[in-house]
Subunit: 347 residues, 2 copies
Amino acid sequence: MRATFMYGAGDVRVENVPDSVVKLPTDALVRVTASCICGSDLWPYGSLSPADGPARMGHEFIGVVEDTGSQVTTVKRGDLVVAPFAISDNTCAFCREGLHTSCAHPQAGFWDGEPEEGGQAEAVRVPLADGTLVKLPVAPDSALIPSLLTLSDVFGTGYHAAVAAGVNERTRVTVIGDGAVGLLAVLSARRLGAEQIILMGRHPARTGLGREFGATDVVSARGEEGIAQVRELTGGHGTHAVLEAVGTMSAYEQALGIVRPGGVISRVGVPQYEEAPIGFGSLFRHNLRLAGGPAPVRAYIEELMPDILDGTLEPGKVFDATTDLDGVPAGYQDMADRKSLKVLIQP
Amino acid sequence: MRATFMYGAGDVRVENVPDSVVKLPTDALVRVTASCICGSDLWPYGSLSPADGPARMGHEFIGVVEDTGSQVTTVKRGDLVVAPFAISDNTCAFCREGLHTSCAHPQAGFWDGEPEEGGQAEAVRVPLADGTLVKLPVAPDSALIPSLLTLSDVFGTGYHAAVAAGVNERTRVTVIGDGAVGLLAVLSARRLGAEQIILMGRHPARTGLGREFGATDVVSARGEEGIAQVRELTGGHGTHAVLEAVGTMSAYEQALGIVRPGGVISRVGVPQYEEAPIGFGSLFRHNLRLAGGPAPVRAYIEELMPDILDGTLEPGKVFDATTDLDGVPAGYQDMADRKSLKVLIQP
């Protein structure tokens, strides 16, 4: 079978590998029918040292169950399933609290903990299949597949940003970042009833989709000028919630500038810094809160799927390009160049 | 009249100053009957440069209203009142949300914004008297005065730590620090129903009072050993809430080590660092949250006072020494030496 590897920054290759097979009684083998490239894949695409490669790529996919281990009971051969970007047992104390990304099972974790598997491939061995996979009630060629695929990561991640920030009908929200996560954070804030949603982004096609998803205002300026414009839109005080969907220190500093006293900065994605200001001169003085983390998307699938199935929400609009496996390396480059917002892969 | 000044580290003096008087129509003049030294006063006591002094000291007091400006309506001459450590109008959007420490009124702020006033004195001009002062239904010599005085800062601050952490009946809590704020954070967590309250502190008399206030466990070890002991007490996972009542980087790092995935570190007092780890390797990976700030104690006075008046709670037990104004300099030194937990002043 064929699978995607990253050998180093800017160096993605699709190669032949041994077929994935069921190894443990809790595994399922899934033949991938739809996958995609994640914004988080762009961090190593910009910086991976060849000494740290090659890395098997892909952590978002939909596919058909082809085989199951003897203990798997919730999915069976022929089922169409979606896989979250984190493997979990869905039964431990953390999963029961909806924090599947902190699942206590020894086999739980992110896909990079499975160096011989990845979603940007023809097939994947899925550990803890009962906990991880969720059956989809549509056919593999349904027009809903792009939207359902977003349940594996990008929609759940945007939704987590809004949930972790406690967004509700009384909340003014700023979303920093017009990438796919940022746009779906807008859609999520709208779904949760936010009264004002300011999208900070400068790519017109993307901010246009952001308005379609529910942004009430768009601010294209960054830094001090962007902060001033958000404050002007909010009576001088900033917004209760800032959903930070970029991951850089400058985005964090921008968040500090526009969050309202008593408000919350909610971070998703993969922050590219470890230390940051949180003392009296930044977070502390006005009781600003910090929330967020890797999204427990498994916890949101049942909640969000009905809105996709009945057509209420179309998060799949973030996909603006489709390719087969051969086109994956070019897809990475197009996303890095911001020519493509998010690339869907049909292996 | 006499008032307390800090001239530099270790140098506190009580001096004669011009009598405080009402200046603005919204002011009240309060004759102080009970005041105290705050743990936060010990930070400058350890580090104040003489070039930055002298500073008028004291931000917690009870007293009798002696005069009022023409616009003051909620208190009158002869009333016994308590003053929170922040001046606020109690009517702006932030005050209505219970965030009095971010009051939008131009005269609002901390007492260090009033360089000619301070609570460790015979009298204080109180700005925004209607918003700031709260009438007490007892006499100045009531046995309840020490407990009622804690409403001006230390009890409200401990309570804020627990409230900001969302402590409830299903919460396991660790309190870091056996100072007066830490001990009253224990009392607050108990009041909010926490099922387990681990107090980290090594001063036997203080941890004894912590047990009386509701601590279910005491851990005297610090650092890695302390973290290991808390984990042992909590099935390996740490506690949902960590109330950080010390303010040092080592206390923050200790908090990171004992907070449960998905849990919250709630900080009160005055953090002595600005930058700290909050990235994937610390807060982010397990969706840890950060909360807290200067406590809006004004918001909690009406809620907490009944429990003091009916004898349910005795937060005044944190006072283990009493002095007149002459004894204030020695009181600072005793608190710095950890000989006294908290010193009450009867001017």
